[in-house]
């Protein structure tokens, strides 16, 4: 095993410190070191979007970062979305109501992509949503109910 490096970071508001090999991917660090398995691994080359998390508020591919690179940063994963165990994030609520997921494998990455997108685009239209989600692949839904969920979440009636 290689010499280990110390990583100190914050995830969903909680501070962590671990010793890791430099080659450990951030996606694997979150899942195996921190047991935050909401972030999924689909392709490990940046195209499927299942591993998308927030790094200092920006959406990034956790499979394309080394855990050691997250030292000193603030991360947010899907586990950090719901305000409490009894209350869903508005996006999660909308996905439930509009059947925006089936197997759920892509969903965490889609949520984390949408959070910063909706912060800067409060009432997106369908084209804008499709463009924003072009970096997230879904095998189950055909995307229509995902779009419906985002429209529902962002256009309160």
């Amino acid at each position: 095993m290689q010499p280990l490096h110390t990583v100190r970071l914050t995830v969903n508001g909680q501070a962590y410190e671990r010793q890791v090999e430099p080659r450990l991917l951030l996606s694997d660090f979150l899942r195996h070191e921190l047991a935050l398995t909401g972030t999924h691994v689909g392709c490990e080359h940046g195209v499927c979007g299942a591993c998308t998390i927030l790094l200092d508020g920006q959406s990034v591919r956790s499979c394309l970062m080394l855990a050691v690179q997250a030292e000193g940063h603030e991360l947010k994963t899907v586990e950090g979305l719901a305000p409490s165990p009894d209350e869903l994030h508005p996006l999660q609520q909308a996905f439930w109501e509009k059947h925006g997921l089936q197997c759920g494998f892509c969903t965490a990455g889609i949520m984390m992509t949408l959070v910063p997108f909706l912060e800067t685009n409060e009432r997106p239209n369908e084209n804008q949503i499709r463009e924003a989600l072009s970096g997230n692949i879904c095998r189950c839904t055909g995307y229509q109910h995902i779009i419906d969920a985002v429209l529902h979440a962002s256009h309160p009636s």
């Binding site: 290689q2 490096h5 090999e21 430099p22 080659r23 991917l25 694997d28 490990e44 080359h45 940046g46 979007g49 998308t52 790094l55 920006q58 959406s59 990034v60 591919r61 499979c63 394309l64 970062m65 080394l66 050691v68 690179q69 992509t113 997108f117 499709r130 463009e131 924003a132 072009s134 970096g135």
Partner: protein, 291 residues
């Protein structure tokens, strides 16, 4: 699909990085945004024994206007920062057209200007934009510095002027001359995919509205940014006409590009796309030059 072991360094200054390169450059890869390097390492296509992470070097992230009306950028400037920069939109409008075409927002949040240019993927937008806009590259080496113009910088597929101990530190984009318009057009199967073909066009008009000069640079139809000087020359001194654009497009597509084809498009289809996009790009660039 995990990287092979490597020794990891995270220098905090340019000097430290250059010193490290001097010691281990032959065995090392530089880690910038990681959006091309880490996939290659995950697949074990690349197995560097040493990785020098540039992400702790704050001094390489900057975006400043220059006196000639252009912009200079530190090599570690994130693509998203360039995409959203008002200075860039004003001074180097070609970049404002090209940046949103690069992959996806998540990739652009980590990907860097210098990393993409140093990687020199023939399917990448930034090398084509650099050649179209006359960008130059400031490169540091133990004890020396040099500036290389874009056409000399790109030397082939994934090959640049950078040697194993070189560090690309800055990219300079000149200001846009008067009466000059730009276009960047590409076709992808899905938004954010690698383009099957693409073109950057630049048109400068004379006082009387005729074309003074033009430039056409193509994407993914050769082993790097591919210039079509003969096609571009056909516009010189001419006034705007659809027939003229079609002739130039025919010339470029038939004689000046060298598409290999790939799983998404045959070489013939790439030529067809190049032809259609040339017309579109010349229309748009001319319109912007005149407007």
């Amino acid at each position: 699909m995990k990287p092979a072991p490597f020794v990891y360094h995270a220098p905090e200054s340019v000097d430290q990085a250059i010193e490290l390169l001097g010691e281990v450059g032959e065995d090392a890869k530089l880690l910038a945004g990681g959006q091309s390097l880490v996939p290659a390492m995950n697949f074990r296509i690349l197995q560097p024994s040493v990785l020098i992470d540039l992400n702790r070097i704050d001094a390489l992230t900057y975006l400043e206007p220059t006196d000639d009306g252009g912009v200079r950028m530190g090599a570690m400037t994130r693509q998203a920062a360039v995409e959203h920069s008002e200075e860039v939109a004003k001074r180097v409008p070609l970049l404002q057209l090209a940046m949103p075409l690069i992959a996806h927002p998540q990739i652009r949040n980590r990907g860097t200007i210098g990393g993409s240019l140093a990687h020199a993927d023939p399917a990448a937008e930034l090398p084509v934009a650099a050649v179209a806009a006359d960008a130059s590259f400031v490169i540091r080496h133990n004890g020396s510095q040099r500036t290389v113009a874009a056409p000399e910088f790109f030397q082939g597929m994934f090959t640049t002027d950078l040697g194993p101990q070189d560090l690309l530190v800055e990219i300079q984009w000149p200001g846009t001359p008067a009466r000059t318009g730009w276009a960047f057009e590409e076709v992808t199967r899905r938004s954010g995919d690698y383009a099957m073909a693409g073109v950057a066009a630049r048109v400068t008009l004379a006082q009387d509205g005729a074309c003074e000069q033009a430039r056409l640079v193509y994407l993914n139809v050769g082993d790097g940014p591919t210039l079509a000087p003969q096609a571009a020359d056909m516009l010189r001194g001419q006034s705007r006409s659809s027939d003229l654009f079609a002739e130039a497009a025919d010339k470029a597509a038939a004689d000046e590009i060298f598409p290999f084809g790939n799983v998404h498009a045959s070489p013939n289809y790439q030529r067809h796309l190049a032809r259609v996009l040339t017309i579109r790009a010349l229309e748009n660039a001319w319109q912007r030059a005149a407007g």
